[in-house]
Amino acid sequence: MESGIFRRNLVIGAVLALIFLLAAIVSFFWTPYDVTQLDIANKLKKPGSQYWFGTDHFGRDIFSMIMVGARTSIAVAIVAVGIGLTVGVPLGLAAAAWRHSLLDELIMRSNDLVFAFPALLIAIMITAVFGPGAVNAIIAIGIFNIPVFARLTRGAALSLWTRDFILAARTAGKNAFRISVEHILPNIVNLLIVQGTIQFSLGILAEAGLSYVGLGAQPPIPSWGRMLAESQTMISFAPHLALFPGFAIVLTVLGLNLFGDGLRDYFDPRLRQQSR
């Protein structure tokens, strides 16, 4: 019965995530209104047939802003996950291949070091040095994805290294590098995809948090977190300004998490069996 739930998770999650992905893509070609156009005479309109989600304090269409904001969120989160994968996975593979060496120790200790820093603080410091902006938000979020993937990769790779087929490859004369690339990596791809989905959703949350405190994408590019920040003083008389971007974040993150959970159960037969 549970596998039914999990398959449902996968489907609901995929649908939710796709809606926002689609909104982001469509926003490149079409939005109901131009989000850079201010129309102060039409500010703070309630949701209705003309403006589906109403307008903000500059008279911009909130529906259009959420579409374009999806673009910002998704782009920042994807690149941040990409940084984590491209740097973290090789580090993790190397640490596992030469386990207990100085390299392993160095990699794992630097991981601990990054983990020890409060993430938001690093982001604040990065933007204090380089100024706020989407690129620096990506870097700040990306840095914290590196140790996540490095640890995960190392752990999974370590257990693979003891398996027979790796032993076979070693006796066949393959070196640690080739084994890592040809045998270890393909076997942990599923794991990485699942973790990637989770980090992706965390990245969306982190981007929202950073732009909420003003450290994300700069105006006039809309971002969900900044929309929330700007709506804050108006929440008591124009709650729609805060509700719609908030729902957008919640639904996207929820969708990605459900999708990730569903994927994990799909990939991991052990779990599936156990849940039966």
């Binding site: 409060p118 603080l121 929820l254």
Partner: protein, 315 residues
């Protein structure tokens, strides 16, 4: 065992040393000068120089690093550039809010997560399980600052049950303090409780599937007895690890929530200090937070090693 602890202790000290260098360098390259920030638009250059001299900012970077680290070892964090009061006193004041807030949030999240996780695990697949898991999915998806905004809108502005923020100080009474921390703690606890409940559930499910539980059942213990006597205790280890990590996260991660509720905690102190370029405060607080995380990790490692000797060998 002792060797293991010593080894971990050594690595703790090394981590801290490296962290202090990283922090110092990172903060020194931050553009902006505390003296010119304090003196504002009309200040003349020689006035700024005079203030820099007074603050000791004109000393060499290496001297200042060693002064800072040397002071910290003796518990002296230096003097704030902007406030001109000892940093240690400022930090102590702020911890008086951040620490109770973190503990409060942790308490709330545990009180919610334990029963939720246990119910979900023991009635796996039931309506209760599905709805608890659904709720936790929602809980981790809601940005806590947004949740905090909604809490203020509803409980402070509409119902006026709680004040919208601020902290009266513990000398106004224990209850007043706890009341002021309630909404922020709820906002902080929501995602934590969701994560904890999920960990609790899966950890319990794992142990319930293990051999010794089957043995216990075979010995004639009831489900309830098995749960309380055996499964829960064993399931608790990963849960405690998460709680440990959450605690250090809560101590530092409350920055945004402290801003929403204008609580004078550590997070707000850092935010303010960075914008005022009160570098010595930033350095010291970040160092303190890193120390907290490293210490918790160390304690968790040691606890693991005590619980499971195999890990010692592995490390």
């Amino acid at each position: 065992m002792l060797r293991f602890v010593l080894k971990r202790l050594l690595s703790l000290v090394a981590t801290l040393a490296v962290a202090s260098v990283v922090i110092f360098i990172a903060i020194e390259v931050v553009p902006g000068d505390p003296a010119s920030y304090m003196l504002g638009l009309n200040a003349e250059p020689d006035t700024v120089q005079a203030l820099r001299d007074e603050l000791g900012l004109n000393a060499s970077k290496i001297t200042r690093y060693f002064q800072w680290v040397g002071g910290m070892v003796h518990g002296d964090f230096g003097t704030s550039y902007t406030y001109r009061t000892p940093v240690s006193a400022m930090i102590a004041d702020r911890i008086g809010i951040s620490l109770p807030l973190a503990l409060y949030a942790l308490l709330l999240s545990t009180v919610i997560a334990f029963p939720a996780g246990i119910i979900a695990a023991t009635r796996r697949g039931s309506v209760a399980d599905v709805s608890i898991m659904g709720a936790t999915q929602l809980g981790v998806a809601i940005p806590n600052f947004w949740f905090a905004m909604l809490l203020v809108l509803f409980f402070s502005i509409q119902l006026r049950w709680f004040s919208a923020g601020g902290f009266p100080g513990w000398d106004e009474g224990f209850f007043a303090g706890v009341k002021a921390l309630t909404l922020p703690a709820v906002a902080l606890a929501l995602p934590q409780a969701s994560i904890l409940a999920r960990v609790m559930r899966s950890s319990l499910l794992d142990t319930l599937g293990e051999d010794f539980i089957r043995t216990a059942r075979a010995k004639g213990l009831t489900t309830r007895q098995t749960l309380w006597r055996h499964a829960l205790r064993n399931a608790l280890i990963p849960v405690l690890t998460i709680i440990g990590l959450q605690f250090s996260f809560l101590l530092a991660g409350a920055i945004i929530i402290e801003n929403v509720f204008f609580l004078p905690g550590l997070g707000r102190l850092i935010f303010q200090a960075i914008s005022q370029r009160d570098l010595i405060v930033v350095e010291s607080v970040v160092m303190l937070l890193v120390f907290a995380v490293v210490l918790v990790t160390f304690l968790v490692d040691v606890a693991y090693a005590v619980a499971d000797p195999r890990l010692r060998a592995q490390r």
